[in-house]
Every structure is written in structure tokens, then in C-alpha cells.
Amino acid sequence: MKPAPFAYVRAENLAQVFDLLDEHGDDARILAGGQSLMATLNMRLSAPEVLIDINHIDGLSDITNDGTTLRIGALARHSQVLESADVAKMAPLIAQAMPHVAHQAIRNRGTFGGSIAFADPAAELPAVSRAIDAKILLQSRNGTRSVAANDFYLGLFETAMQPDELLVGVEVPGIADGERTAFLELARRSGDYAIVGIGVQGRIDGGTFSDMRLVFLGAGDRPILASAAADVLNGNPHNDETVAAAQAALDADLDPMSDLNGPPEMKMHLARVLTKRALTALAA
């Protein structure tokens, strides 16, 4: 299908974006990479009156690393993030997740900030942002505020971002010495949205888990931080018994919805399978 008619504005600066958001409110949509928005427009799941193209605003696509904090501009393309040495060094979980983000032609256009702002519960980057304690930078005419990823995702495609705000970047604390990461997902085709996926970051010192963070995608109405499973792991040795206890604890963490891929029971099963695989990968 083809999109319903709309007007298009190529914004030159943030002030213009805020003016247009004021003027058009809910009738306007921000166009970043467009790799989700364009599909919903083509299918007429969304019919805004105005598209505000932010691709030509300077300064929104840089990836910077001051040695402590990694900052990824909202307009950094997935392919740019995938190839970034700073990302691989400071946030290896992002680097491990990135090959699973769609396909090359989509990664060449799709943006880091767009994926976070869209908050698809089956997408990789929103989930990863929770595991690595990312801060989401939201700018409005009144200034910029920072929202912890753990407070950002409120529900299905629902975030803490206000209608007058634009997501301008994401800040990530550099990974601490000794922390390990693993990212795995199951999809019908490489690069498609996950049926279920998992990101893990934490420590295994002397065979014992600590500081564990497990996040799941495709297992709820938003990216889910599995705190019950993490509690079971922390302070316990990496062995079959601990892993089985963490798998069992997922009952308290996850409440997956039925979708085209299958029923909740199947998703719970796959989440447990992935948990074991990810913990094995983490220990390797």
C-alpha cells in the first residue's frame, strides 16, 4: 500500500522542530531513519499530517567517548554504531546486539535514537539500553533532561518522552573492568524481529555470579529487566543448579503476550532456553 498524503518539512535546526511540534502536536511525526515509521505509513497504520525530517540537523549523529561515558547521537545509523570501535570498547553488549538489528540496507538508514524512541518490545536496542543502564537524553524548548532507560519504557510502544520533546542522544557508562556480556536471540530469519531475545551483563568472579543484569526482548509489552532471575544468580556459583533456578525464576519476571510467533508458553520456554545459552556464553 501507499501512505496517505502528508506534508513534509526538512528541519534545519532543533528550534524549528520544536516550533513544528508546538504547531502540529499529534498530527506531526518525527522522521529519523524511517525504517519503522515508513512501514507503518505504507500500511496506513499511521496517517500524520506532517512529517518532520530531522536527518539534516547537524550534530545529532556523532558517537563520542570521553573515556568514562559513551554518547551516541540520536541520528547515528545502525551501520555506523555496528562499525564503531568506541561502541565495541565501551558498550560491547550494543556491539553484540547490533548484527541482529535488521539487515544491511535497513541498518544503513535506521537510527539508534529512532529505535529507542519507537520502543518496540521485540527490538534489540531498547532491551540492551536497560541492561547497560543507559540514559536517554530528551530535549525540548525548555532544555535537556536525562531519563534512565529503566524509567523510560512505560508500556507497549509507550515511553516517558513528552509530546514537545525530541530524543537527541543516549549516554552509556563505559563497561567496568571484569564485566562480561552476551546477547542471543531467536528469529525466523536472521535480522528479523526476535521471537525472543536476551541480553546479559554481569560478573563471574571465581565461578560466582554478581552484578547480573538480564534483559529480554519479545517477552512482554516492553523490554523486560529480569530482576528475580538476577537475584537468584547473584552470589551463587555458575552450575546447573543455579542456572535451573534462574530459569524457574523467570516465571516471576516475564509475562509474554501471544503473537504471530506463538503462544506465551512457547515464549517462556524459549526464554529459558536462551537464559541457559546466554549464561553458558557469559562463562566462556
Binding site: 498524503p5 502528508f6 506534508a7 524511517g34 525504517q35 505504507n42 536527518n55 551501520s79 540496507a105 538508514r109
Partner: protein, 158 residues
């Protein structure tokens, strides 16, 4: 507000200026406005890869980008790459290895394969499969396509 946009871009090296409805996507623009029908329209939501077009040197989904967004860009389609001979070896290998049956996916496959070989001149079969995973083929299957791309990688490195 105006639902039309003035754009100037180059397509296969030729300057093009048009006034287009803002909602026109890039692949429909090259097909209907410029009559370059080698880029195909399949799923129209970014899944199938038949609409793959090169913009500023990188492949994109032609259905997930507006023509309005290509203002100022350098766009290349399968027609341009065929004309300039830059993928003649891939086309020959697809032909000889029977990696083409109905041909619907072929332009997208060729542009994707060329980007792979530019980024990674020595891909493994697994690398090739991964890179073309965003392009659906429904006829002869992927085996022959992977064979053809692998052959060209080997030939270019010889």
C-alpha cells in the same frame, strides 16, 4: 501545508529535478517518474529487499525512504550499475550459475552482493548468507545465489 516537494538529485549520474507528492517513496519515484523499472516493489514494508537502491553509496530500502528525502542525494539503480559495467561479473555469475529464475529479487540481490564485496572482499559462505538475509528469493533458492557471489569474490581476489 504543501503536500508536494521540489527535489533535485542525480540518478545514475544524470541530474534530475522534479516536483513530487511528499508521500512518494523513492522506489515508486524511480519506477513511475523516471521509468527505471529494474528496482522492484514487493512487500512495501521493508521485509523483502526487492526495492534495494543505492543512495550516496549505500544500499537502502527504496520503499522505506521518501523521494523527498533524496533531495541532493546521489541515487544509483540496477540500470546504472548495469550500464557502467561495475557489476558485470556478478551478473555473469548469476546467469551462469542459474541464480536467476523469475528475476524479481535479482536487482536487489545484485546491489546487496556488490555492497558485501565492497565491505568484505573475502566473505565466507556464512558471511554471504548473513549479508543477503534481508533479500527474499522465492525461486531457485539461495544456494545458487551464494555460489555465484562466492565465485565472484574468488575471481576478484585472483
Amino acid at each position: 501545508m504543501d503536500q508536494n516537494v521540489d527535489i533535485t538529485l542525480t540518478v545514475n549520474g544524470q541530474p534530475v529535478t522534479r516536483r513530487v507528492p511528499a508521500r512518494t517513496n523513492l522506489v515508486d519515484f524511480v519506477r513511475y517518474e523516471l521509468e527505471l523499472t529494474g528496482s522492484h516493489v514487493g512487500c512495501e514494508h521493508g521485509v523483502c529487499g526487492a526495492c534495494t537502491i543505492r543512495v550516496d553509496g549505500q544500499i537502502v530500502r527504496g520503499c522505506l525512504m521518501l523521494a523527498a528525502q533524496a533531495d541532493g542525494a546521489e541515487v544509483e539503480t540496477i540500470e546504472g550499475l548495469s550500464e557502467d559495467g561495475s557489476i558485470a561479473d556478478l551478473q555473469q555469475a548469476f546467469h551462469e550459475r542459474n541464480a536467476v529464475q523469475c528475476g524479481f529479487c535479482t536487482p536487489g540481490m545484485l546491489l546487496t552482493a556488490e555492497e558485501l564485496l565492497q565491505k568484505n572482499p573475502t566473505p565466507s559462505r556464512e558471511d554471504i548468507r548473513e549479508f543477503i538475509s534481508g533479500n527474499y528469493c522465492r525461486c531457485p533458492g539461495y544456494q545458487a545465489i551464494v555460489d555465484a557471489i562466492e565465485r565472484v569474490a574468488n575471481e576478484r581476489n585472483a
